[in-house]
Symmetry: C2
Subunit: 218 residues, 2 copies
DNA sequence: CAAATTCCGTTGCGAATGCAACGGAACGAT
DNA sequence: ATCGTTCCGTTGCATTCGCAACGGAATTTG
């Protein structure tokens, strides 16, 4: 069995596929293994994205080289995460981002062409992989949609309430949020102290109550 | 040939498929036609999204019913546009949005199950449809990614410059934007007058120049 | 136990921003 | 020509917000 099969089988891209089947799938797809040292590139700006990447080991950063060469961190990838799938599927000619190893690591590259092609051996995983790919893209889509509705609010209060209501809708009126204050401020794209201020106001107005990460809508 | 085949063939979901082939594709997928009057629903909140919808005629609104029943317009759909594809692909159980006819119109519903299934007649369109679906989701993905990077900027100036640089990167340092002032302000989620103010500042500082919708980075 | 670190609320202040209102220019319809 | 409409710049004002700094409580480290 493949060295990282158990890790990879837990990737959402391979959900419904057994660790023991990953091997055959990778052969079918002609997957290539990439062993990288820290600061090596798994994908460079400007390259045509022809492969979907899957992280097997290590931590990788998706970065954008800004106008004056400044680097912006867009995402941090862990084993089981993937990259470049949107770029491949959208048929982008030149990658607008780089993927660079933050630690030594291993990634597998799956040829997007071969993912699309009906498998000559008509292996069952292949259809599942396509289905998963759709699922991955669509889920990210919905997540970003929700976040955008957040960020399109102009006031801190509106952003905050929208966020809290979203969580409340899933977990009920008493819930625990997965962020500390600083992370929440980052997520809402606002200043931490301004967040604290608004939280205090909302509590004093009796709109919400909270203690640490436990919140309640009133 | 199908009544709206020419319109549908121009939909991105069917790119690479001829108008004359849409007929066969729809039969293969068991597509259902829906003739709707104004204010009729093509999809209701809470329903399980099992179909991908394609607008053939009329104008439709994607709306979210807010906490107190307030309606938020999320998108406006024209012939060739589609809806619910993200929900289907992500396997969402209950639709968080409704799609309602703003004028009398016609939509076609394509069973997501049958889109996924390998076609028993192994028709060539089927694979192309899947590929297009991936493309549609991925493109929307990248678009939202870009917009999110915009909205995560805190100052108006930063948002504006980021937007202008993005357009400039595609069209060169002199370019025409597809928005008037009010639309641009909406896109950037800022106040129109504040946008004008900042535009004026940037011009007086010699950073940019503009006349109506023609802009230039200096 | 002491010291260091993290997390979070608080506050003062200046700058940025939203809001409302106005006026002018361009355009179109009657 | 006149009126109405749309688009856009301008401005005054109140408010919000980001920023920097501080301190306390809790937790971790040595």
């Amino acid at each position: 069995m493949l060295e990282f099969a158990d890790v990879l089988a837990r990737a959402t891209l391979f959900s419904g596929i057994e660790a023991s089947e990953i091997d055959a799938l990778f052969i079918c797809l002609g997957a290539k293994r990439l062993d990288l040292a820290k600061d090596d590139f798994a994908l460079r700006v400007g390259e045509p994205p022809v492969n979907v990447g899957v992280v097997a080991e290590g931590r990788f950063h998706v970065i954008r080289e800004d106008f004056e060469g400044e680097r912006t961190l867009i995402a941090s990838l862990e084993p089981g995460d993937h990259f470049a799938e949107s770029l491949c599927c959208a048929g982008v000619a030149e990658s607008p981002v780089s993927v660079v190893a933050n630690t030594p690591g291993v990634v597998w590259l799956l040829s997007f062409r071969r993912i699309l092609q009906t498998c000559p051996h008509s292996c069952t995983f292949h259809g599942k992989l396509l289905e998963n790919m759709l699922g991955v893209l669509a889920s990210k889509n919905l997540e970003m949609q929700a976040r955008m509705e957040l960020l399109s609010q102009k006031s801190i209060r509106a952003r905050l309430m929208r966020y809290l209501e979203t969580v409340a809708r899933k977990q009920g009126n008493s819930f625990v949020i997965p962020f500390n204050r600083e992370e929440l401020a980052d997520y809402l794209c606002i200043d931490r102290s301004a967040l604290s201020r608004e939280l205090g106001r909302l509590k004093s107005e009796g709109v919400i109550d909270f203690w640490k990460n436990n919140f309640k809508l009133l």
